[in-house]
Subunit: 331 residues, 2 copies
């Protein structure tokens, strides 16, 4: 099946580019409220998996044992922008668990926050794995390894107890049977593949964990409340996840590489998962904003409106086109 | 009609993302040698229009009047990386025609060449419209305005004699009847829309201008030879256009924003035009390299092979997937 166009980009009188994809909205029992496109084909959730990856950190007791704050839980769920507000907190957390940047399995990359990158270039500072947007997730993995009494070294291997716990949690939340296919993520940990329908169901289970065991339900509630309380830590200054979560104040929104987005909607008891076929972030941002508006999870104003009807500006800041969802897509 | 998948991006056991699009290969008489996908729908060629935009600069006599070098003609056809090799030559050319950076209608943007951008940040230098990848094209437009005895100011307006000359040249080379629909490009000049079949025909006419008037044919030959002689000026250090032109040494290759690529193949008397539906550069680069290999215009080795079978590396430089054209696409 060919997925429908989720986002079109206009220039003057024409649609210049189009982005196809699929969207699933599910409740915790797997009932699909919205299914646009092929929601059964396996996709890689990439960083949109992070809310799931944080559940065993809490459920295992490791978060409590090491006194993790909600800020640290939010950073475990984050694709952060590498700003000082992120790296300073991740570094302090690593020190508390007896680890350091040298233990991170992820590689370095330029901070997503342009001001931070510019400041670092000016001062001659090199980016390290601490600036990797996944450094909070990795520090969560190291904390979980410590909590499980497992070696920190090798925490990124698919047969390490940390990744075994992640896969078990994911398969249970998504009501799948493993083993799941996996690829190696940008930060070197396994990323498990599943359908958008299953991913949306897992997000709904975290958002509405009433059907889960008390320990897991408590872990899920803490993941969601920590994200909602710390929109700046889950992404960063000016980022769509941060803007949407600041606007709505009762939803958790998480991007993933290659055009993935998920949302956890506790008030509605729903999970949202979408993927743009071609992997474009610009389209995923527009589609998630439009989907959240369509679901009534956020008002069609402010950042949600600006993302779902994004102007295309040129180098003279002339408005030359628009990025938008085709009319009636979520009708 | 839904375009076929031109490029797939794998991760581990799965195809993670896909890019649809269309490819046209034409001769100067409009006979299509290859037509993959919808080659009749209008698209914006964006910067792939530059070889056409340079034709009236030469044909009008303006290039001769102001003593333009082949390097300057190549810069008129360039989306350059903003390196000193580009900006110094464009600035010297502007001075010779009595213009300056203040006359450029394009806005500033960060140089595409990362080393140049880093050096500028370190030294506190701001990017100007001279660093805009289109500054050579704009300086060509200003030279054409001077040559036509028209005001330089307003050269970016669709009814200015410069843009009238561009549209007339394009419609004639592509064997269309105007007026053509247009949008405003990233650099503020009109970008005329036409089908990939017509764009490929226009590129073929420039590559093989035997059917044109002597003045236009000479202009077309000079555009192609100036591009081929200056691959570093047409794009920049490490860029795909530069790499492919350096490898083959008898082809001209030009990228455009939003997933466009064209090639001018004088030895084969053919023009190539492709567009990725979603506008992704990574896919356009892979598809043009594969198309040129399939046409026998370049060997399946070096940069052409590296682009058509591009590894996906993560932040630890682990090979986690591949970008490639589906088997049999150009068969």
């Amino acid at each position: 099946m060919t997925n429908p166009i989720l986002v079109e980009v206009t220039r003057g009188p024409l649609v210049e580019s189009t982005h196809r994809g699929a969207v699933a909205v599910s409740d915790a029992e797997g009932r699909l409220r919205i299914a646009v496109g092929d929601v059964e084909r396996p996709i890689f959730p990439r960083s949109a998996l992070k809310p799931v990856q944080a559940v065993p950190l809490i459920e295992s007791g490791a978060a409590e044992k090491f006194g993790l704050t909600d800020e640290e839980i939010a950073l475990a769920c984050a694709s952060h922008s590498g700003e000082p507000q992120h790296t300073s907190r991740v570094a302090a957390w690593q020190e508390r668990i007896g680890c350091s940047v040298a233990d991170l399995a992820c590689g370095p990359h330029r901070p997503m926050h342009e001001g931070t990158a510019t400041q670092m270039i000016r001062s001659g500072e090199k980016w390290t794995p601490l600036h990797n947007n996944c450094s909070g997730k990795h520090t969560g993995f190291m904390t979980l390894a410590r909590g499980l009494g497992a070696p920190v070294e090798g925490y990124q291997e698919v047969d390490h107890p940390v990744q075994r716990a992640v896969e078990a949690t994911l398969t249970q939340l998504a009501a799948l049977s493993g083993p799941l296919p996996y690829g190696v993520d940008g930060c070197t940990v396994p990323n498990f593949a599943l359908s958008l329908a299953a991913l949306a169901r897992a997000m709904a289970a975290i958002a509405d964990p009433t059907g889960l065991s008390p320990a897991r339900a408590a872990a899920c509630r803490r993941v969601v409340s920590a994200m909602i309380a710390n929109p700046d830590l889950v992404a960063g200054t000016g980022r769509p996840c941060t803007q949407l979560m600041r606007q709505a104040s009762d939803i958790a929104v998480k991007t993933g590489a290659e055009g993935v987005y998920v949302a956890l909607l506790p008030a509605l008891g729903l999970g949202v998962a979408l993927k743009i076929d071609d992997g474009a972030s610009r389209a995923a941002e527009t589609a998630i904003a439009a989907a959240l508006v369509a679901l009534g999870a956020i008002k069609d104003e402010g950042p949600a409106h600006a993302l779902s009807h994004a102007p295309v500006l040129n180098t003279r800041n002339v408005h030359v086109g628009e990025r938008r969802v085709p009319k009636g897509l979520f009708a």
